[in-house]
Symmetry: C2
Subunit: 406 residues, 2 copies
């Protein structure tokens, strides 16, 4: 983590992906992120993937670098501690990040009474507060209907929880914009983000809504082609597959040069009466271009394909399984400055990413592992709330807080 | 657009998705975003989807609310104007957002000589500067190998350009964090983001890398199931499909209650010796649970399914095509405050989204259409650079700048 946000403190009351991911991003840019979990762990504490002995790699991966307090907010005293943390005085504090319902201990108006310039970010499923998750939002957004093999007649879900991550990134923007504004004006902010809105806004921003309303049509399912341009997957002689694109004239030329197909592509252009220097014409000619290129790929190994395409600067990439990405791709290794091997207590060593961005004015720092649940309970109660060791002991005794349990 | 960032000005030199999407997000929170394009338009000016007369709905959707200057940067005078805009003095100015190569007119060190506290965000394909696009990065990241129908043996690409959007959201974070830091310290920043790093960091943050390294395995392709929990699509009596999830005990109970399957699910639990209140046990029992539920869905219309599942608060959603989302879903309509119908010059009226976030302390404002290419050339040259009308006329005459051309 770098230290650009070292003057900010975020209290995170969360579960699953969107809010934890946002807290992770903030923490990796230097913010002190305090995650509040129920004693014994919340809804996501045992989520898959898990190790053979049931420890969640998901939880450990999403909570890197945070501090953890285990707190029973069903108890009035527990709620009081949570609210005191969220509304603690001081510049850069008073920021609450949550994807739990904004009521009870997370009611904005009650919290605002304790700190008038509170910034609270709340992520919901739908805008009206009704439930929605990434997978139900994605179904509604239209993408599953155009994903998957040509002529397949059922929806194909994505596996990567896109909308959770987009909502997370939006939440980070909400925090940063609100903090800039608070520094200018002194005013706090209640910021709401609906998971479904992130999907529907993206439909607008990428032109899908205009396409339906202006052109009156929905685009069809077209396998691994890319709509309106040239993109295609090919199999190599050694049974690997590659994705090849030619969106720009330069990339088209690089592909034609690498494969030695200049003459054949002239024939394709003449045959179909198209100008293959135009993106839309490459799209129109995609099946024929693919038919011409296929033998070139199927006759060569991945390493031979790689040499030829890289030599001309073609825009392509190999398909990799997760295991291949982790074991074969140098971009997913400690040779890439974003990665570092960490020692995760109770789990062991694995490669973990820090901040996605490089800032010239801030050293990357180290990637920190996730806390053990409750690891920082006592230090947070003592240092931030000034509780005595006797008081902290009593809170443990009554089960209102818990320390590290594993 | 709200006005939270009204004191910021971003100069955008961009093409395709990642940088334009970042500029759009900044603009919709009030920043003055000036997009520089070549005279006649850049690489993405005619990208699909297009209207019947060739106007790009993609370009119009990604550039909402920006100002446009058309400028020939192959000419020294054009480059001088571009650099003067990027390094213009004043608090909140001096921010450059680009996904073009950071050399020549976009060389950070040359620009920094003109404004020492410049903030420059540069998005590249790979960290080493080599080319990569969303589709090639996604192939390498592993998701296509686990997306699509069970037993399908080829990779399935996503259609939504996930990594472009994640890179865009990261770029926005880069701008905001750098600006916070500049206000604190006076220092500028060169911020680099590699598209491929956004994918590989996400693999880390969601636990995929740890899963390979700690457990030694890659998860298999499993259709529309959700790994480690219960999620399944069903067909309804009227030929629609729905996605149903039960990640939490509450959602499982809601699904069981809505479908009246409490007794059958007890039988399933006994049959398989599992505890269906546990997420991992619902995953283990997924085929059987699905077999029990399938007749319930296939015997009811979508509207009947909707009534029953909504009544108990189950977590589900209908699959919709893009056209169905736009024409049938009230969340994609002017009834949703994020949406507004705009009049896009040269194209017509369509529904467009503003800022994804609601800020309690800032009115949403209106959603603004995209500029016509070169629409603001003259006002930018006059107001920001103080050029005389004679000088501006000469720049037009020599083809170094252009005004609105349509």
């Amino acid at each position: 983590m770098n230290d650009l946000l070292k003057n900010m403190r975020i209290v995170e009351a969360s579960a699953f992906i969107a809010a934890p991911y946002a807290g992770l991003v903030m923490g990796q840019m230097g913010a002190d992120v305090i995650r509040i979990d129920p004693v014994g762990g919340g809804l996501d504490y045992r989520r898959w993937p898990v190790t053979r002995d049931g420890r969640s790699l998901y939880w450990a991966s999403l909570n890197k670098g945070k501090r953890s307090i285990a707190l029973n907010v069903r108890d009035a005293e527990g709620r009081e501690i949570a609210q005191a943390l969220m509304t603690q005085p001081g510049a850069g504090s008073g920021i609450l990040l949550s994807n739990l319902p904004a009521r009870g201990w997370l009611d904005f108006q009650s919290l605002k009474k304790r700190r008038d310039d509170l910034i609270m970010i709340n992520i919901t499923g739908n805008r009206d507060g009704s439930v929605a998750l990434d997978y139900t939002v994605n179904a509604a957004a239209g993408f599953p209907s155009v994903t998957g093999p040509d002529h397949y007649d059922r929806p194909v879900n994505h596996v990567m929880p896109v909308w959770d991550v987009v909502a997370a990134m939006s939440a980070v923007q909400g925090i940063l914009v609100s903090e800039l504004h608070r520094r200018e004006t002194g005013a706090g902010q209640f910021v709401q983000i609906a998971l479904s809105d992130t999907a529907f806004a993206t439909l607008s921003h990428l032109g899908y809504i205009a396409e339906v309303q202006v052109n009156g049509d929905s685009r069809p399912r077209m396998g691994n082609h890319v709509y309106g341009t040239y993109g295609q997957d090919f199999e190599t002689a050694d049974g690997r597959r590659v994705m090849v694109t030619a969106f720009t004239q330069r990339h088209w030329q690089a592909l034609v040069d690498a494969t030695g197909m200049a003459g054949k592509m002239e024939q394709v252009a003449e045959l179909l009466d198209l100008d293959l220097m135009k993106e839309e014409d490459r799209f129109a000619a995609r099946e024929t271009i693919t038919a011409v290129l296929r033998p070139w790929f199927s006759g060569r190994s991945l390493s031979s394909v790689r040499r030829a395409l890289d030599a001309t600067g073609a825009c392509w990439g190999p398909y990799q399984t997760f295991a291949q990405a982790v074991t074969e791709d140098p971009r997913v290794s400690a040779a890439n400055p974003i990665f570092e091997e960490i020692e995760q207590p109770g789990i062991g060593r694995f490669l973990a990413a820090g901040c996605m961005l490089d800032f010239s004015g801030a050293a990357r720092g180290t990637v920190k592992p996730a806390p053990i649940l409750g690891q920082h309970t006592d230090e947070i109660l003592a240092d931030l709330l000034g509780l005595s060791s006797g008081r902290i002991g009593a809170l443990h005794d009554s089960g209102i807080v818990a320390g590290p349990t594993e």
